[in-house]
């Protein structure tokens, strides 16, 4: 099981069927082709958006993606409340 250092991304190469979907959906080039299965080429660039895990039909990827909105996290950390949503219409 390959893992990233600064985030929660985990990849199980044995489960991968090499469909390439994760390479397609990742906006930060984290995955790359590598023979019979993909590999984590740049795991630390992962922003934990969760797209790869959601689109992997083999469930070979795990990542803790939360609500995917950093504003929500800042609010949660500062107010001590749970990260639910940013609650703002205006975010992003």
């Amino acid at each position: 099981m390959a893992k990233a250092k600064v985030n929660t991304l985990e990849f199980d190469r044995d489960a991968c069927n090499n469909c390439g979907m994760c390479i397609t959906v990742c906006p930060h080039g984290v995955f790359a082709e590598d023979g019979r299965a993909v590999r984590l080429a740049d795991p630390d660039a992962c922003m934990e958006c969760g797209a790869c895990a959601l689109n992997c039909s083999q469930e070979a990827i795990r990542v803790d993606s939360g609500v995917g909105c950093a504003n929500a996290m800042i609010m949660a950390a500062l107010t001590g409340r749970k990260e639910v949503t940013c609650g703002c219409d205006s975010c992003c």
Partner: protein, 356 residues
């Protein structure tokens, strides 16, 4: 369209804006009708974009969900999916200028693709049910659709295929790359990357400023009353450094974390403020002037750093885990510096009063 159909419509007086039915739900009888869209943005469209960018009623810029026909689209034309946020929809239709295509607008409650996908409203369920309610399968013979790259956090392509029969292709991050994508049939790696270049960063400034400026103005005013012009100008400078300096200079500020980038710029503003205070001869002793200068060096940078930290919320780079760590590392430092700075400032003020 009858007037009462407009009840609850968030875009008053915009009925002439394309698409024609953008305001309010269509009458029930023709709810599944294909609506018409053009790729030409009117002056009114552009005006609403400016307002939306300024953060004015951003949640209110909705387009009616459903299927839209662009140009002379027929049964073999491509189908593109987007959110019912006006800026998303308009970016897509104007990028498709001169092309025949269908646009399937999902109901994301007026939120853009990226945020809505994160929240799950731009997602597999909504896409599948919108394909059914718009009877898309009767309209086109192709069984493919283009979903924007930024929608991938909400849509699972293999599930959509299993449930609706439509194969999802993920398009480029930017609408402007779509014509090239459709021509080539695939996206270059470049098109798939989030670039977040200067233009992307600059358009975020007004929205952030909208939230932060009233607070910064209040703090600056308080500093003016409590300490005078120099402190007030320093605070204002720190706020501007955070709101404008950080987004513009982002890639060139030599630090990884946004808070650290903010500390760098805020530090420059603070040193300038402290230098001014030190050099302005107000008749007090050097010690007192040094104390005042020190209070600026302590209390001013955290403001810029905090604004910079907040900016992470609007950027596509930091991972939640990284931001969480950053918050726990930097927020105590910011708070500590601000409080110490205020104490030092109050102390020198008391000393001055004793003397005076």
């Amino acid at each position: 369209m009858k007037e009462e159909d407009n009840a609850g419509c968030s875009c008053h007086g915009q009925k002439s804006a394309t698409p024609d039915n953008a305001c309010g739900p269509a009458p029930a009888s023709n709810r599944n009708e294909i609506k018409t869209a053009t790729s030409v943005l009117t002056f009114q469209d552009k005006l609403t974009h400016v307002l939306a960018r300024l953060g004015i009623r951003r949640g209110g810029w909705r387009v009616e969900p459903g299927l839209y026909r662009l140009g002379d689209a027929g049964e073999e034309s491509p189908v593109l999916v987007t959110a019912n946020y006006k800026l998303s929809f308009d970016a897509l239709r104007s990028a498709l200028s001169g092309m025949d295509a269908f646009i399937l607008v999902l109901d994301t409650f007026g939120i853009n693709v990226w945020c809505a996908a994160g929240k799950g409203t731009f997602g597999t369920d909504e896409l599948v049910s919108r394909i059914e309610s718009s009877r898309l399968a009767d309209v086109v013979t192709t069984r493919r659709m283009l979903v924007p790259q930024l929608g991938t956090t909400g849509v699972a392509a293999h599930e959509v295929k299993a449930r609706s029969g439509f194969k999802v292709d993920y398009g480029p991050v930017r609408a402007e790359d779509i014509p090239e994508f459709l021509r080539a049939g695939k996206a270059t790696p470049e098109m798939r990357r989030i670039r977040f270049d200067l233009r992307d960063r600059v358009v975020l400034i007004p929205v952030e400023a909208n939230q932060a400026l009233p607070i910064a103005a209040g703090v600056s005013l308080a500093a003016y009353i409590a300490d005078g012009t120099i402190a007030s100008a320093g605070i204002a400078g720190a706020a501007i450094a955070g709101l404008v300096g950080v987004p513009v200079l982002l890639p060139w500020l030599p630090a990884d974390e946004y808070s650290a980038k903010g500390f760098i710029l805020g530090g420059i503003v603070a040193l300038a403020t402290a230098g001014t205070a030190l050099l302005s001869d107000d008749g007090s002793s050097l010690t007192l002037r040094l104390m005042r200068a020190a209070s600026y060096v302590l209390a001013i940078p955290p403001l810029t750093a905090f604004i910079a930290l907040n900016f992470t919320g609007a950027t596509p780079y930091p991972s939640p885990s990284g931001v969480r760590k950053e918050i726990f590392r930097y927020v105590p430092v910011m708070a500590g510096m601000t409080v110490t700075g205020i104490i030092v400032n109050v102390a020198q003020k008391i000393a001055r009063m004793r003397k005076g």
